[in-house]
Amino acid sequence: MAQYRTQVRIIADVLSTARDMNVEGTGVGVTALLRRGNLSYTRMSKLLSELVGSGLLVELTGEKISKYMISEKGVQFLAAYHSFDDFAQSFGLRL
Protein backbone atom coordinates (compact mmCIF):
# COMPACT_ATOMS: atom_id res chain seq x y z
CA MET A 1 0.00 0.00 0.00
CA ALA A 2 1.26 3.49 -0.87
CA GLN A 3 2.46 5.58 2.06
CA TYR A 4 1.99 9.26 2.81
CA ARG A 5 5.20 11.18 2.18
CA THR A 6 6.22 14.01 4.44
CA GLN A 7 7.37 17.30 2.89
CA VAL A 8 10.99 16.65 3.83
CA ARG A 9 10.84 13.23 2.15
CA ILE A 10 9.42 14.75 -1.04
CA ILE A 11 12.25 17.31 -1.04
CA ALA A 12 14.82 14.53 -0.51
CA ASP A 13 13.27 12.53 -3.39
CA VAL A 14 13.43 15.52 -5.76
CA LEU A 15 17.02 16.33 -4.77
CA SER A 16 18.05 12.68 -5.15
CA THR A 17 16.53 12.61 -8.64
CA ALA A 18 18.30 15.86 -9.58
CA ARG A 19 21.58 14.35 -8.37
CA ASP A 20 21.24 10.83 -9.79
CA MET A 21 19.84 11.72 -13.23
CA ASN A 22 22.31 14.50 -13.91
CA VAL A 23 24.79 12.11 -15.56
CA GLU A 24 25.83 14.48 -18.34
CA GLY A 25 26.17 17.48 -16.03
CA THR A 26 23.64 19.51 -18.01
CA GLY A 27 20.87 19.34 -15.41
CA VAL A 28 17.57 17.45 -15.23
CA GLY A 29 14.34 18.57 -16.89
CA VAL A 30 11.00 19.01 -15.15
CA THR A 31 9.52 15.96 -16.94
CA ALA A 32 12.12 13.62 -15.43
CA LEU A 33 11.64 15.19 -12.00
CA LEU A 34 7.87 14.81 -12.32
CA ARG A 35 8.15 11.17 -13.34
CA ARG A 36 10.41 10.25 -10.44
CA GLY A 37 8.97 12.71 -7.91
CA ASN A 38 5.36 11.52 -8.35
CA LEU A 39 3.90 15.04 -7.95
CA SER A 40 1.50 17.16 -9.98
CA TYR A 41 2.99 19.79 -12.31
CA THR A 42 1.63 22.68 -10.21
CA ARG A 43 3.02 21.28 -6.99
CA MET A 44 6.36 20.44 -8.57
CA SER A 45 6.71 23.96 -10.05
CA LYS A 46 6.05 25.52 -6.64
CA LEU A 47 8.49 23.15 -4.95
CA LEU A 48 11.20 23.78 -7.55
CA SER A 49 10.97 27.56 -7.06
CA GLU A 50 11.24 27.04 -3.29
CA LEU A 51 14.26 24.75 -3.66
CA VAL A 52 15.97 27.17 -6.05
CA GLY A 53 15.13 30.04 -3.67
CA SER A 54 16.65 28.21 -0.71
CA GLY A 55 19.77 27.35 -2.69
CA LEU A 56 19.31 23.58 -2.71
CA LEU A 57 18.86 23.44 -6.50
CA VAL A 58 20.45 25.51 -9.25
CA GLU A 59 18.25 26.49 -12.22
CA LEU A 60 19.97 26.32 -15.61
CA THR A 61 17.84 28.45 -17.94
CA GLY A 62 17.99 27.36 -21.57
CA GLU A 63 16.33 28.77 -24.72
CA LYS A 64 13.14 26.75 -24.32
CA ILE A 65 13.22 24.86 -21.05
CA SER A 66 14.77 25.15 -17.64
CA LYS A 67 16.87 22.36 -16.19
CA TYR A 68 17.80 21.80 -12.59
CA MET A 69 21.00 20.70 -10.91
CA ILE A 70 21.64 19.93 -7.26
CA SER A 71 23.82 22.52 -5.49
CA GLU A 72 26.57 21.93 -2.93
CA LYS A 73 24.08 22.95 -0.22
CA GLY A 74 21.62 20.42 -1.66
CA VAL A 75 24.23 17.65 -1.47
CA GLN A 76 24.91 18.61 2.16
CA PHE A 77 21.18 18.61 2.88
CA LEU A 78 20.79 15.12 1.37
CA ALA A 79 23.70 13.81 3.47
CA ALA A 80 22.15 15.31 6.61
CA TYR A 81 18.73 13.95 5.63
CA HIS A 82 20.13 10.42 5.27
CA SER A 83 21.94 10.66 8.61
CA PHE A 84 18.82 11.81 10.45
CA ASP A 85 16.66 9.30 8.55
CA ASP A 86 19.03 6.58 9.70
CA PHE A 87 18.76 7.90 13.26
CA ALA A 88 14.93 7.96 13.13
CA GLN A 89 14.82 4.50 11.53
CA SER A 90 16.88 3.12 14.40
CA PHE A 91 13.95 4.08 16.64
CA GLY A 92 11.53 2.46 14.18
CA LEU A 93 10.35 5.84 12.84
CA ARG A 94 10.47 7.57 9.44
CA LEU A 95 11.28 11.22 8.77
Binding site: M1, Q7, V8, A79, Y81, S83, F87, S90, F91, L95
Partner: protein, 216 residues
Protein backbone atom coordinates in the same frame (compact mmCIF):
# COMPACT_ATOMS: atom_id res chain seq x y z
CA UNK B 1 10.08 2.24 53.40
CA UNK B 2 13.00 4.14 51.80
CA UNK B 3 15.80 2.15 50.20
CA UNK B 4 19.06 1.78 52.16
CA UNK B 5 21.51 4.74 51.72
CA UNK B 6 24.00 2.65 49.66
CA UNK B 7 21.25 1.52 47.35
CA UNK B 8 19.91 5.06 47.07
CA UNK B 9 23.39 6.31 46.09
CA UNK B 10 23.84 3.58 43.46
CA UNK B 11 20.32 4.26 42.24
CA UNK B 12 20.96 7.97 41.90
CA UNK B 13 24.25 7.44 40.07
CA UNK B 14 22.54 5.09 37.63
CA UNK B 15 19.70 7.57 37.18
CA UNK B 16 22.24 10.23 36.19
CA UNK B 17 23.41 7.92 33.37
CA UNK B 18 19.77 7.84 32.28
CA UNK B 19 19.67 11.65 32.38
CA UNK B 20 22.78 11.90 30.19
CA UNK B 21 21.60 9.35 27.62
CA UNK B 22 18.07 10.79 27.42
CA UNK B 23 19.33 14.33 26.88
CA UNK B 24 21.85 13.09 24.28
CA UNK B 25 19.11 11.38 22.25
CA UNK B 26 16.90 14.48 22.63
CA UNK B 27 19.77 16.71 21.48
CA UNK B 28 20.42 14.74 18.27
CA UNK B 29 16.68 14.49 17.52
CA UNK B 30 16.11 18.22 18.05
CA UNK B 31 19.21 19.02 15.97
CA UNK B 32 17.53 16.95 13.24
CA UNK B 33 14.38 19.06 13.62
CA UNK B 34 16.44 22.19 13.01
CA UNK B 35 17.84 20.79 9.75
CA UNK B 36 14.90 18.82 8.39
CA UNK B 37 11.82 20.24 10.18
CA UNK B 38 10.74 16.63 10.71
CA UNK B 39 7.83 16.22 13.12
CA UNK B 40 8.88 12.60 13.82
CA UNK B 41 12.19 13.85 15.19
CA UNK B 42 10.36 16.60 17.09
CA UNK B 43 8.20 14.02 18.89
CA UNK B 44 11.22 11.78 19.53
CA UNK B 45 13.19 14.75 20.88
CA UNK B 46 10.33 15.79 23.17
CA UNK B 47 9.95 12.20 24.40
CA UNK B 48 13.57 11.97 25.46
CA UNK B 49 13.67 15.52 26.84
CA UNK B 50 10.73 14.66 29.14
CA UNK B 51 12.39 11.35 30.06
CA UNK B 52 15.63 13.18 30.86
CA UNK B 53 13.87 15.66 33.14
CA UNK B 54 11.93 12.79 34.75
CA UNK B 55 15.13 10.86 35.50
CA UNK B 56 16.76 14.07 36.76
CA UNK B 57 13.95 14.65 39.28
CA UNK B 58 14.14 11.00 40.40
CA UNK B 59 17.92 11.10 40.82
CA UNK B 60 17.69 14.32 42.87
CA UNK B 61 15.01 12.73 45.05
CA UNK B 62 17.30 9.68 45.46
CA UNK B 63 20.25 11.85 46.46
CA UNK B 64 18.04 13.77 48.88
CA UNK B 65 17.44 10.55 50.80
CA UNK B 66 21.16 10.38 51.62
CA UNK B 67 21.09 13.69 53.49
CA UNK B 68 18.43 13.35 56.18
CA UNK B 69 18.15 17.10 56.85
CA UNK B 70 17.70 17.81 53.15
CA UNK B 71 15.56 14.77 52.55
CA UNK B 72 13.09 15.32 49.75
CA UNK B 73 10.16 13.28 50.87
CA UNK B 74 7.44 15.33 49.24
CA UNK B 75 5.25 12.93 47.31
CA UNK B 76 4.42 15.72 44.89
CA UNK B 77 8.04 15.86 43.71
CA UNK B 78 8.15 12.09 43.16
CA UNK B 79 4.83 12.19 41.33
CA UNK B 80 6.11 15.16 39.29
CA UNK B 81 9.13 13.11 38.21
CA UNK B 82 6.91 10.19 37.28
CA UNK B 83 4.58 12.50 35.39
CA UNK B 84 7.52 13.80 33.32
CA UNK B 85 8.64 10.23 32.63
CA UNK B 86 5.13 9.12 31.63
CA UNK B 87 4.83 12.13 29.31
CA UNK B 88 8.12 11.09 27.71
CA UNK B 89 6.89 7.54 27.15
CA UNK B 90 3.59 8.95 25.85
CA UNK B 91 5.42 10.97 23.17
CA UNK B 92 7.42 7.87 22.24
CA UNK B 93 4.20 5.86 21.80
CA UNK B 94 2.53 8.79 20.02
CA UNK B 95 5.45 8.97 17.52
CA UNK B 96 4.80 5.36 16.61
CA UNK B 97 1.04 5.86 16.45
CA UNK B 98 1.50 8.74 13.97
CA UNK B 99 3.96 6.63 11.97
CA UNK B 100 1.33 3.87 11.76
CA UNK B 101 -1.19 6.37 10.34
CA UNK B 102 1.34 7.85 7.89
CA UNK B 103 2.32 4.45 6.56
CA UNK B 104 -1.36 3.44 6.15
CA UNK B 105 -0.97 0.16 7.98
CA UNK B 106 -2.60 -1.56 10.90
CA UNK B 107 -0.72 -0.80 14.08
CA UNK B 108 -0.21 -3.18 16.91
CA UNK B 109 -2.87 -2.14 19.38
CA UNK B 110 -2.75 -2.64 23.11
CA UNK B 111 -6.44 -2.33 23.76
CA UNK B 112 -6.80 -3.57 27.27
CA UNK B 113 -5.02 -2.42 30.35
CA UNK B 114 -5.64 -5.31 32.76
CA UNK B 115 -2.89 -4.42 35.23
CA UNK B 116 -4.37 -0.95 35.70
CA UNK B 117 -7.09 -2.39 37.92
CA UNK B 118 -4.40 -3.74 40.26
CA UNK B 119 -2.80 -0.33 40.64
CA UNK B 120 -5.43 1.15 42.91
CA UNK B 121 -6.22 4.83 43.14
CA UNK B 122 -2.62 5.99 43.79
CA UNK B 123 -1.53 8.46 41.07
CA UNK B 124 2.11 7.30 41.13
CA UNK B 125 1.02 3.69 40.51
CA UNK B 126 -1.22 4.72 37.64
CA UNK B 127 1.52 6.83 36.02
CA UNK B 128 3.95 3.98 36.40
CA UNK B 129 1.74 1.41 34.73
CA UNK B 130 0.82 3.88 31.98
CA UNK B 131 4.55 4.32 31.31
CA UNK B 132 4.83 0.55 31.05
CA UNK B 133 2.06 0.37 28.43
CA UNK B 134 3.45 3.29 26.42
CA UNK B 135 6.94 1.84 26.33
CA UNK B 136 5.65 -1.64 25.46
CA UNK B 137 3.70 -0.13 22.58
CA UNK B 138 6.98 1.44 21.44
CA UNK B 139 8.70 -1.98 21.71
CA UNK B 140 6.03 -3.71 19.60
CA UNK B 141 6.08 -1.01 16.90
CA UNK B 142 9.88 -0.79 16.83
CA UNK B 143 10.10 -4.57 16.48
CA UNK B 144 7.47 -4.46 13.73
CA UNK B 145 9.56 -1.77 12.01
CA UNK B 146 12.55 -4.13 12.23
CA UNK B 147 10.60 -6.88 10.43
CA UNK B 148 10.08 -4.41 7.55
CA UNK B 149 13.54 -2.84 7.35
CA UNK B 150 15.72 -5.69 8.73
CA UNK B 151 18.00 -3.01 10.11
CA UNK B 152 20.03 -4.44 13.03
CA UNK B 153 20.03 -1.05 14.81
CA UNK B 154 16.23 -1.09 14.95
CA UNK B 155 16.24 -4.54 16.59
CA UNK B 156 18.85 -3.29 19.05
CA UNK B 157 16.68 -0.28 19.95
CA UNK B 158 13.62 -2.54 20.35
CA UNK B 159 15.66 -4.56 22.86
CA UNK B 160 16.70 -1.36 24.65
CA UNK B 161 13.08 -0.23 24.87
CA UNK B 162 12.08 -3.68 26.12
CA UNK B 163 14.61 -3.30 28.96
CA UNK B 164 13.14 0.13 29.70
CA UNK B 165 9.75 -1.59 29.83
CA UNK B 166 11.09 -4.14 32.33
CA UNK B 167 12.41 -1.21 34.39
CA UNK B 168 9.06 0.57 34.39
CA UNK B 169 7.36 -2.69 35.40
CA UNK B 170 9.70 -3.03 38.39
CA UNK B 171 9.07 0.65 39.12
CA UNK B 172 5.37 -0.13 39.35
CA UNK B 173 6.09 -3.17 41.54
CA UNK B 174 8.31 -1.04 43.80
CA UNK B 175 5.43 1.39 44.30
CA UNK B 176 2.95 -1.39 45.06
CA UNK B 177 5.33 -3.34 47.33
CA UNK B 178 7.24 -0.47 48.95
CA UNK B 179 8.65 -2.67 51.73
CA UNK B 180 10.76 -4.68 49.23
CA UNK B 181 13.81 -2.39 48.99
CA UNK B 182 15.58 -4.34 46.23
CA UNK B 183 12.77 -3.57 43.76
CA UNK B 184 13.90 0.04 43.35
CA UNK B 185 17.37 -1.17 42.30
CA UNK B 186 15.85 -3.84 40.06
CA UNK B 187 13.93 -1.00 38.42
CA UNK B 188 16.99 1.13 37.70
CA UNK B 189 19.40 -1.55 36.39
CA UNK B 190 17.32 -2.63 33.34
CA UNK B 191 16.35 1.01 32.74
CA UNK B 192 19.98 2.11 32.57
CA UNK B 193 20.93 -0.94 30.45
CA UNK B 194 18.09 -0.09 28.10
CA UNK B 195 19.04 3.57 27.90
CA UNK B 196 22.68 2.65 27.26
CA UNK B 197 21.52 0.61 24.27
CA UNK B 198 19.49 3.61 23.08
CA UNK B 199 22.73 5.59 23.16
CA UNK B 200 24.11 3.53 20.21
CA UNK B 201 22.49 5.59 17.42
CA UNK B 202 23.68 8.77 19.14
CA UNK B 203 27.24 7.43 19.16
CA UNK B 204 26.98 6.42 15.51
CA UNK B 205 25.63 9.86 14.69
CA UNK B 206 28.43 11.55 16.62
CA UNK B 207 31.05 9.45 14.78
CA UNK B 208 29.45 10.01 11.37
CA UNK B 209 28.87 13.73 11.92
CA UNK B 210 26.58 15.98 9.92
CA UNK B 211 27.62 19.16 8.19
CA UNK B 212 25.01 21.42 6.72
CA UNK B 213 24.89 25.20 6.47
CA UNK B 214 21.52 25.58 8.13
CA UNK B 215 17.83 24.79 7.91
CA UNK B 216 16.19 24.58 4.49
Amino acid sequence: MSPAPDMALIGSMLQFIGVFVSFSVAYVALKGVKHTESMSLMRLGLAFAFLGFGFLVESIVGLGQLIPRLSITATDVVVGGLLLETTGYFFLAFSHAVDVVMSKRMGAALLILPVMSLSGPDLANILSILSFYFVMYGVVETFYSYTRTRKPDTLFIAMGLALLGVGTFFQWLSLVYQYVAILSLLQIIPQVMGLTILFTPVLRFAVGGVKVDGPI
